[in-house]
Amino acid sequence: MSPEMNHSHDDHGEGGVPFLPDHFVKELAVITLILGILFFLATLMPAPMGLPANPLKTPLGIKPEWYFLSVYQILKYVPKTVGIAWSFLIFPPVLMIFPFFYRFYARYKYGRLIIHTLGALGVFLAVFLAALAYLGFE
């Protein structure tokens, strides 16, 4: 790794705080808090069992799990092939490889701003579509 590639702090230099005990104590606090929240939810709001699966009886308003709601909603507005091609064949690879073009777009004054704005718009759109699906809009 060339020196200009390595943006990290020197792990054993003067900067920062030692992992033990300084940082680790904070991590323990977060672990305790999260486990507390999980046990709180699991004991006070146990997972429902629901009715056994019945292929002959379609329940009203079936929806996918919340993390698929935005994809589910897109498919109502665009042709199925387009929506699925976007959700499964275009979006994931683009999301995966865009950092490899960083040196290209960061050369431009607003390059980074544009990428981050696109990201923010994408997040906003996904949340908006999921909310529409959750509320049952067609």
Binding site: H7, G15, M49
Partner: protein, 216 residues
């Protein structure tokens, strides 16, 4: 001459250097609470492994036994309700934490060179986590599981050209049955835990190797 356990291990496995590397590495000053979501995701994964193993002792993946076996976990076993509820809640919170972690990395620009490969493993870990959720959702074999899986597999089935093959592969046939359950179960408790653990190891190795990114 006093030879302790630590000396014994140190001579053979160099444990002092490894533990020093773990304990004394320094965490940069700009690390604040926004940086904790990846770690919380890992914590969720460990909770899922622990509760999931306990559930696997009693769960029976077939159309006629799945629902009654989960009911037995809930009603007939000590703390069964808590174990299953922890598993269900943590699944959702894990996905939320992955998303928040990704957003943090994205808007901090922490994906930029030399950390592109860690972003790639992270995106793959996100998709694996979602697949974990999707495959686990069917297992209790209640109305929600059945119809969510039906809708989900139909969406996959509508993919151009390959859709019908993907749907047939997912369901292990043309409808949700015993083979679908064992397929989802195998993906959920064998394939995904192994593959996700390997990618996690790579993810963590790269964090230690490349350090935590400086702020933009």
């Amino acid at each position: 001459m006093r030879l302790g356990v630590l000396d014994f291990l140190d001579e053979r496995l160099d444990v002092r250097r490894i533990s020093r590397e773990f304990a004394e590495h320094r965490v940069p000053d700009h690390v604040n609470w926004l940086y904790c979501f990846g770690g919380i995701t890992f914590l969720c994964f460990m909770v899922q492994a622990a509760t999931g193993i306990l559930l696997a002792f009693y769960y029976q993946p077939s159309v006629s036994t799945a629902y009654p076996s989960v009911l037995h976990i809930m009603d007939g076993l000590p703390f069964g309700v808590v174990i299953r509820s922890l598993h269900a809640w943590t699944a959702n919170i894990m996905i939320i934490m992955v998303i928040v972690h990704m957003l943090r990395v994205f808007f901090h620009g922490a994906y930029r060179p030399p950390r592109e490969l860690n972003w790639v493993t992270g995106v793959l870990l996100f998709f694996m986590t979602v697949t974990f959720g999707f495959s686990g959702y069917l297992l209790p074999m209640n109305q929600l599981s059945y119809w969510a899986t039906k809708v989900g597999s139909e969406i996959a089935g509508a993919m151009p050209f390959v859709g019908q093959y993907i749907q047939a592969f997912l369901l292990a046939g043309n409808k949700i049955g015993d083979d679908t359950l064992t397929r989802f179960y195998g993906i959920h408790v064998i394939i995904l835990p192994i593959v996700l653990s390997m990618f996690l190891a790579a993810h963590f190795y790269m964090i230690r190797k490349q350090g935590i990114a400086d702020p933009l």
